[in-house]
Symmetry: C2
Subunit: 193 residues, 2 copies
């Protein structure tokens, strides 16, 4: 068990301690899935039924505006969780898409199994309370940054938030996260370096 689940258990044990038995109860609820490059985990209009934890590869969540422009909401490299939290909690149709940027391995926890987990091991309430808080803060921070920061400052925040992705993602995707055109982004980077 140790190898396959070590990353997710380490992630959880940053906030709560688990006994070996509790680790087994938890990991028995997880489903492993492989995604091909470009494959969708969630599409707009579907109800989000799973939280995904990334083992390898990289996922990203994005929405499409009225002018068909893609806005990247979040990236999820290894050791990150990703879901449309709004849809997962409310069970209303999702307003975003989640897709694999490259071939990825993920672990899925369904909302129904999450509820079972809360009953079986109440300590998980703490873990998911903190995860929900972080998600709420990140959503709000993105809104504030988009309203108040320059593109350069937003790029700096991206590099702080996702240090492993700076040299890993194509410029087009970083530009879609920062909210500028690839051309503008390319000029900005030349200026910065």
């Amino acid at each position: 068990m140790a190898n396959e689940y070590q990353l997710i258990l380490d992630n959880i044990c940053r906030y709560i301690s688990l006994t070996d038995e509790e680790k087994q109860i938890f990991t028995a609820l997880l489903t492993r899935r492989s995604l091909k490059r470009g494959e969708f985990l969630l599409t707009e209009g579907m109800i989000c039924r799973y939280s995904a934890f990334v083992l390898s590869g990289c996922l990203f969540g994005y929405s499409i505006d009225r002018d068909a422009a893609e806005h990247i909401v979040s990236f999820a490299p290894p050791d990150w969780w990703i879901a449309d939290m709004y849809s997962l909690i409310s069970q209303q149709p999702s307003t975003m898409n989640i897709r694999a940027h490259e071939a990825s391995e993920i672990l899925l926890l369904s909302r129904a199994d999450q509820e079972k987990l809360f009953i079986a091991i109440p300590k998980f309430e703490r873990f998911f309370r903190i995860l929900t808080e972080k998600s709420l803060v990140a959503n709000q921070q993105r809104l504030i940054d988009n309203l108040s920061l320059s593109a350069e400052e937003r790029y700096k925040n991206f590099t702080l938030r996702y240090p492993t992705l700076v040299h890993h993602l194509p410029q087009k995707q970083i530009a879609a996260y920062i909210g500028v055109t690839p051309e503008f982004f390319s000029k900005m980077k030349s200026k910065l370096s």
Copy 2:
């Protein structure tokens, strides 16, 4: 104790069960405060240190845009919680104001005491996990409604969300929540009735 704290204990016991001793530990952490009509509980730029639970009166949270227009984010009649959750969790400066619409009585729980509560009575993790989830969903739903619903549909959602406030608040405030001018709101209501 029963009378003063009955409303907040009933609110909590919708999600978790508490023994008499646990109720006493919890209520000992609360501070009661009276707000005059128009008084501020939080102003933009301050750090939000408290969750407020409304016993009587009504509070509202709002932000001011670049054109000095007031956008009401949420109302809190009796039996509702209100805070700038983003600021409370991240301890970053608040992006909204919270103010009493009329003379109000509230109970305050500080973020520091909330952390103590989680240690003393871990069941509160569940209560605040659910409260945080509801807050995240409500924020997102407001964004979606503002982008996708007509003013009439947004008014209908307001009446469903706050049935006690429909005849209680001045039209100007309901208009600021729906995101229309008072003049437009007045015409819309005549048309609807």
